[in-house]
């Protein structure tokens, strides 16, 4: 992409390629910015679609764990086939499109931002149903057959993640005694792994499209990997993802028993809340180290934004959460 007008020309051609000559592209608008993926809303006639594209068209994964956009498109298709609510992938960009790496998907409407979902009255029915819907969606994700999934997916179970994140944390040479204690506890109490499944990897408010009736689509598959199903269930329980509504363990809106009832019914497993505790501790530690990683982008000069600087001051929120969890598990 040399310049903006090349990009615009590319968008028009893409829209015509997907929807036909009779429906020209009328509007396009960037929905999100930042260092990760670009998201563009395109519309013309009755059609509206979302283009998810690598920043500036250049393929550069946001972290070493990210799978890349073509693989993400393949996963969304596989998830749709398995009955997971997802947008429909309409087109995966090819070199002919001259738009870089990315894919076009149907536009689903709703809300992704946690605050209105957790507070606004129009979402009260949705909030009541959401934990069960999340259980059903996760059960469907975890039932996807592993053969035929994109080769980019990495295998990463609980102990592998501890090793991976411990190495990153040690690399910062900024010792945090609370993290040390959490690492020791996790290593000493690691449960036996369960059968490997496809793990979404970032299943929480922010990456879920919600409307008045509940879950509309599971988005943002770039951290998907092969691993333990309890990871996904616990991640949405991490206190940071409850957005202030601590009393509702699932995402700030629901109870874990509701999620697990739906999940167990669908999968035939019999997971209990107790089995999620270890993974919630791991998820909390991971989020703390992710905050350190994002702050490092500021410290190293790679991203000079206030946002990247300030996120370093969110590490302490995971420290207090880890202390709360250690106290609860120690009692």
């Amino acid at each position: 992409m040399g310049n903006n007008s090349d990009f615009e020309t590319g968008l028009h051609a893409l829209f015509t390629r997907v929807f036909g000559d009779s429906v020209p592209l009328e509007t396009f608008k960037r929905l999100s910015g930042g260092a990760s993926q670009e998201t563009w809303a395109l519309s013309g006639g009755d059609h509206s679609a979302i283009l998810r594209r690598a920043p500036g068209g250049t393929s550069m994964a946001r972290s070493s764990a990210a799978i890349g956009l073509p693989a993400e498109a393949a996963l969304i298709r596989a998830a749709g086939t398995a009955g997971v609510p997802v947008p429909e992938v309409l087109h995966v960009l090819s070199p002919d499109d001259d738009l870089g790496d990315g894919f076009l998907m149907s536009r689903v409407f709703g809300e992704t931002i946690a605050r209105p979902i957790l507070r606004n009255p129009e979402f009260s029915d949705a909030r009541n149903r959401l934990a069960g819907q999340c259980g059903t969606a996760l059960a469907a994700i975890h039932s996807i057959a592993l053969d035929g999934l994109p080769p980019e997916l990495q295998q990463s179970d609980g102990l592998a993640q501890i090793a991976q994140y411990e190495e990153i944390y040690r690399g910062f040479d900024a010792p945090r005694p609370v993290f040390e204690l959490a690492l020791q506890w996790l290593k000493a109490n690691a449960p036996a792994p369960m059968a490997t499944v496809l793990v979404h990897g970032d299943f929480r408010l922010g990456n879920l499209m919600i409307d008045e009736s509940g879950l509309v689509a599971v988005l943002d598959w770039e951290l998907a990997h092969l691993g333990d199903p309890r990871e996904d269930i616990a991640w949405i329980c991490v206190n940071s993802w409850r957005f202030g509504q601590t009393e509702n363990r699932v995402g700030g809106f629901g109870q874990l028993s509701e999620l697990l009832d739906a999940y167990n019914q669908q999968t035939g497993l019999s997971l209990s809340a107790f089995e999620i505790d270890w993974w919630e501790m791991l998820g909390t530690l991971k989020w703390g180290i992710m905050c350190m990683i994002m702050y490092e982008a500021f410290r190293s000069g790679a991203d000079a934004s206030v946002e990247r600087a300030a996120i370093g001051r969110r590490v302490s929120e995971t420290e207090i959460d880890l202390i709360n969890l250690l106290e609860a598990n120690h009692a």
Partner: protein
């Protein structure tokens, strides 16, 4: 050295400028970043006010736990504590350890994010 205005007053003035003058004229990402900047300045003010006593408390806790000499730098004390935990020498069972870590983490969150829900849980 004079301090009229003090550092806190200067930060307060800049924060008021962002909140009352700059932010209302911004849209989209710029408005979002103005809010982040304003919150960061609030953290700066709390840090200026609370860090001295919070750090003194942390140091006292570390020195007692580690039986370390009074003059040991805080960073070294935290490194020592991290090593003792990592080696298994200090655990959840170690008297006073969890209490010290909790007190220190709470003081830090009071500065970084005083409205964070986990802080309320810790106080309960």
């Amino acid at each position: 050295m004079h301090d009229q205005p003090s550092v806190i007053e200067l930060v307060q003035a800049v924060k008021a400028f962002i909140d009352e003058t700059a932010a209302p004229q911004l849209k989209g990402h710029a408005a979002f970043h103005a809010r982040v900047a304003s919150n960061a300045l609030a953290t700066v003010m709390r840090d200026l006010e609370q860090r001295p006593s919070a750090e003194a408390q942390e140091r006292a806790g570390l020195i007692a736990l580690l039986r370390a000499p009074e003059y040991t730098p805080t960073e070294t004390l935290n490194q020592m504590l991290s090593m003792r935990i990592r080696s298994g020498d200090m655990t959840l069972e170690t008297p006073g350890l969890l209490k010290h870590l909790k007190q220190t983490a709470m003081a830090q969150v009071e500065i970084d994010q005083p409205r964070y829900s986990g802080l309320k849980t810790a106080k309960a």
